[in-house]
């Protein structure tokens, strides 16, 4: 190809530079910390000293097995719930489609540590369920099934939105061709539509796997009682328990990274076996079919998932936020708005924390969106050498526990010889969020690029467009729906990220999550839940408003 002889495209250079700052630097310092135990004190003494201790932990194999099991189960259950919903949504005219989309967006906006607390307060003995219905489900909740259930309800939207969008792009057009040649509708779906949607499905399942093995809140809250220890809980213990064992935490994180990397290799193997190009520039017929007799069962399925994933957690959060005391339970005399008044009256610094987190969320979405699109382009569409390295850099942070990213960032950016540093400014939070969340836009954009034929860009170049213009005018608009959806997820997660924020927040700066967490620590659960409820409202409404202002709600959600 002619392109191989051209100068490296500027978009590739920007992507590489961005990835170095956002991912490679903290990762390098985590690696150094794993090798040199006294790195924090600026010493390179005793290399590899901590390795034997951390890897020789007799519990390591069991915890790694549990971590894998949890990841696989959450992926399987997420796919089981999300794929049928997504296919129905993409190919058929589901009544109230946009409303279902919003309802499935909300679980992603509920911070996992809030969701799990909501479930505990609902299902434990004398919880809300028992107060309303007279029975409790504590044995189910405090078990592996309970952990998988709660985590799946939090992660399945990733699969739902990715798959419904890819299936929609693939459209019914290719399946129609199959039908013309005599395939039954089912056969056309299984042999044509679903295989062509593999990029979106594989990418989203990979994200879910990485999220599941990296998630701290749910296994910590539910797993302890079930005797179900995972790597993340062990890592957190090493970082929170004096004497602090940073090298041990770094080494265990690398085990997590290896797990996630293996999953990534599997996903890439699936994607490179064949071509998934479905966007060729030819006009697409996006007419959807009628559900017919399946209308009621499909609607029932949508409703059941919405109630479990969105309705119940939101009700639990609201009930707790409106309770004057937890011990008062669900009684009219115990309900009031005092917690909301405290937040809106800003007597507790809540509004400032909201402002900080929302601006950080927007900034993180923009940075990861641009960097994600450029990186995905460099990996999928350019022929530049070393693009495999870029691809690997974009996936590694996915499995890094937030707390380890935070430690890596401190080690990297608190070096005394640095003339200027983002450390101890809010920029360090932005760097942390970008590092943790970059995989989302990259995975979505990569999947979208895989579906775009090379001819489109080539055509633009033939007509005299520079590489940047071709990228901006042809490719970016084509991947925009996927990319914007991913940026929306970044915004949601960044505004509520807890684990890294707690450690890396600059002095005197509160974020939404650290605010909520402090309320919990002090026993003000209601105040924390009120803040969580307002946050969920804002982080759901804000993207929806932006999208509808841009006039593309229909094809985005």
């Amino acid at each position: 190809m002619a392109r191989a002889h051209e100068a490296v495209s500027p978009s590739v250079v920007i992507a590489a530079a961005g990835l170095v700052v956002v991912v490679a630097v903290p990762l390098l310092f985590i690696l150094l910390q794993a090798v040199f135990p006294h790195l924090g004190r600026g010493s390179l003494a005793a290399p590899f000293y901590a390795l034997a201790g951390a890897l020789g932990d007799p519990k390591l194999i069991g915890m790694t097995g549990n971590t894998l099991l949890l990841g696989v189960l959450v992926v399987a259950l997420s796919a089981l719930i999300a794929v049928p919903l997504a296919v129905a949504r993409a190919l058929f005219r589901v009544p109230g489609a946009v409303i279902w989309d919003v309802l499935f967006l909300i679980p992603f906006m509920i911070p996992p540590y809030i969701a799990v607390l909501g479930w505990i307060m609902t299902l434990q003995p004398r919880g809300y369920l028992e107060q309303v219905a007279g029975f409790n489900l504590a044995p189910f909740l405090f078990s592996i099934s309970g952990i998988v259930f709660v985590m799946t309800l939090n992660t399945f939207p990733v699969v739902y939105f990715a798959v419904s969008r890819t299936v929609e792009t693939v459209g019914s057009r290719y399946a129609d061709v199959g039908r013309v040649f005599g395939a039954s509708p089912a056969r056309a779906f299984w042999r044509i539509t679903l295989p062509l949607s593999t990029p979106g499905l594989a990418a989203s399942l990979l994200l879910v796997f990485a999220m599941a093995i990296e998630e701290y809140g749910t296994p910590a809250a539910l797993g302890g009682r079930a005797g179900f220890d995972v790597l993340v809980t062990a890592i957190d213990l090493r970082v929170s328990d004096w004497p602090i064992d940073l090298p041990g935490a770094a080494i265990l994180s690398l085990v997590l990274v290896i797990l996630s990397f293996a999953a990534f290799l599997m996903q890439r193997w699936i994607l490179t076996r064949r071509s998934y190009e479905a966007t060729t520039g030819k006009p697409q017929d996006s007419a959807k079919r009628e559900l017919g007799v399946w209308k009621i069962p499909v609607l029932a399925l949508f409703a059941a998932v919405a109630v479990a994933a969105t309705g119940l957690p939101l009700l639990a959060i609201l009930a707790t936020a409106m309770s004057r005391t937890i011990s008062g339970g669900l009684a009219w005399s115990n309900l009031g708005l005092s917690n909301f008044e405290a937040i809106l009256g800003d007597s507790t610094g809540a509004l400032k924390a909201l402002g900080t987190s929302l601006s950080l969320g927007v900034a993180a979405a923009l940075v990861t969106g641009i960097l994600g699109a450029l990186s995905a382009y460099a990996v999928v569409k350019s022929k530049v050498r070393g693009r495999g390295v870029l691809d690997v850099l974009t996936i590694l942070p996915n499995a890094l526990p937030g707390i380890v990213v935070a430690v890596g960032l401190i080690l990297a950016w608190n070096q005394p010889w640095l003339p200027v540093t983002p450390y101890n400014t809010s920029l360090i939070l932005l760097l942390a969020y970008c590092c943790i969340l970059l995989p989302q836009p990259v995975r979505y954009a990569t999947a979208a690029f895989h579906q775009i034929g090379d001819n489109l860009e080539a055509a633009a170049r033939v007509f005299g467009a520079t590489p940047l213009v071709a990228f901006r005018r042809i490719l970016l608009p084509l991947i925009a729906p996927s990319l914007l959806a991913a940026m929306l997820l970044v915004f949601a997660v960044a505004t509520r990220e807890l684990v890294a924020s707690v450690v890396v927040a600059p002095v005197g700066v509160s974020t939404i999550s650290t605010y909520i967490w402090r309320q919990f620590e002090q026993g003000s659960v209601g105040l924390g839940m009120a803040m969580a409820f307002l946050t969920i409202l804002i982080t759901t409404a804000l993207p929806l408003i932006v999208l509808s202002l841009m006039g593309r709600r229909g094809n985005l959600l």
């Binding site: 809250a221 004096w242 005391t325 641009i370 005394p416 400014t425 932005l430 901006r472 450690v503 002090q522």
Partner: protein, 316 residues
């Protein structure tokens, strides 16, 4: 579109970097947040010296200090575990300072390099609405009345819970074995252990940090704080000045303020016991409690063994 996104990014970055200059005194502290907020505000009002603080659990504060060690920024550290003061003094990280206001702080709450800000004690936190009889002693919670109804904070995650386990297991793990047989469970850090008791899923916390429960009671929660007559352990909260601090005069002023009448009144207002014996509080004070002897050097010396034995007892 790319250009607009880029411009927005630059604008957001500019916004975020603004106004983050370091303060005159930087304090890292374990909770509660409202305590450090009030102390910082009071100190600034009195002296004009600005205080910025970072508040988290003792563990997270330590992780941050450890990671920052090559270029540290913290001036004053307030931990929730006296163990920190001992350890940091051994490392030579602390500045010796005897505040004039510390005269009435008893000797066991101060060293050359650390002084208590306030003191918490461990207690039984019991929900009177749980339908169980009022427990009076630690051993009561191993009775059939409380089967499956008791939470213990995790001694691996809470320094004070560890000291209680050490003190009560001096003659063996017998009490904890009978608790385990009675289906008591180990439930995370302090706040996590208390929540199920408030809602009624459990009846009592074995070894709750007292001030959190007392604050809950003040807000109208159905919770009672019971100090067993057989004795309990206390968790003094050491205040330390770090030797790398470039603001040592201001740091010393801040320590003076914490131990002043006004500062100790703020501590008492959070339902902690003031470190100074001449300041009163609306709650049981150290003199009212029987304190179990804990030989810190000895119990922390065999911390790993104790935790191992404890987790074996509660392993299912």
């Amino acid at each position: 579109m790319l250009k607009t996104m880029f411009r927005a990014g630059v604008a957001a970055a500019a916004l975020l970097t603004a106004g983050s200059a370091l303060a005159d005194v930087t304090v890292y502290t374990a909770g509660p947040a409202s305590l450090i907020e009030k102390l910082a505000a009071g100190f600034t009002a009195e002296t004009g010296v600005k205080v910025e603080f970072f508040q988290a659990t003792t563990g997270k504060v330590m992780a941050r200090i450890e990671a920052e060690a090559s270029n540290p920024v913290v001036d004053v550290l307030i931990s929730a575990s006296w163990d920190t003061a001992t350890d940091f003094a051994e490392r030579g990280w602390l500045v010796p300072y005897a505040s004039a206001n510390a005269a009435t702080v008893p000797d066991f709450l101060k060293t050359d390099t650390a002084v208590a800000q306030g003191v918490a004690a461990l207690a039984i936190a019991w929900n009177p609405a749980s339908g169980t009889p009022r427990p009076a002693e630690w051993a009561d919670l191993a009775k059939p009345d409380y089967k499956d109804l008791v939470n213990l904070p995790d001694p691996a995650q809470s320094g004070s819970a560890f000291e209680l386990v050490s003190a009560l297991s001096a003659d063996g793990m017998g009490l904890f074995e009978s608790l385990a047989v009675n289906d008591a469970i180990v439930a995370g850090a302090n706040a996590e252990a208390l929540n199920p008791v408030l809602q009624g899923a459990k009846a009592a916390v074995f070894g709750a940090v007292d001030y959190i429960s007392l604050n809950g009671k003040a807000k109208g929660e159905s919770i009672e704080v019971i100090f067993p007559e057989s004795g309990t352990v206390i968790a003094p909260r050491p205040v330390m000045i770090l030797n790398w601090s470039k603001n040592q005069d201001e740091a010393k002023q801040f320590v003076d303020y914490i131990l002043s009448d006004a500062g100790q009144a703020i501590v008492a207002g959070e339902n902690l016991m003031p470190a100074r014996t001449d300041v009163t509080a609306d709650r049981p004070l150290i003199a009212d409690l029987k304190i179990l002897p804990v030989d810190t050097a000895a119990v922390y010396g065999k911390r790993a063994e104790t935790l191992e034995a404890f987790s074996k007892v509660f392993a299912k």
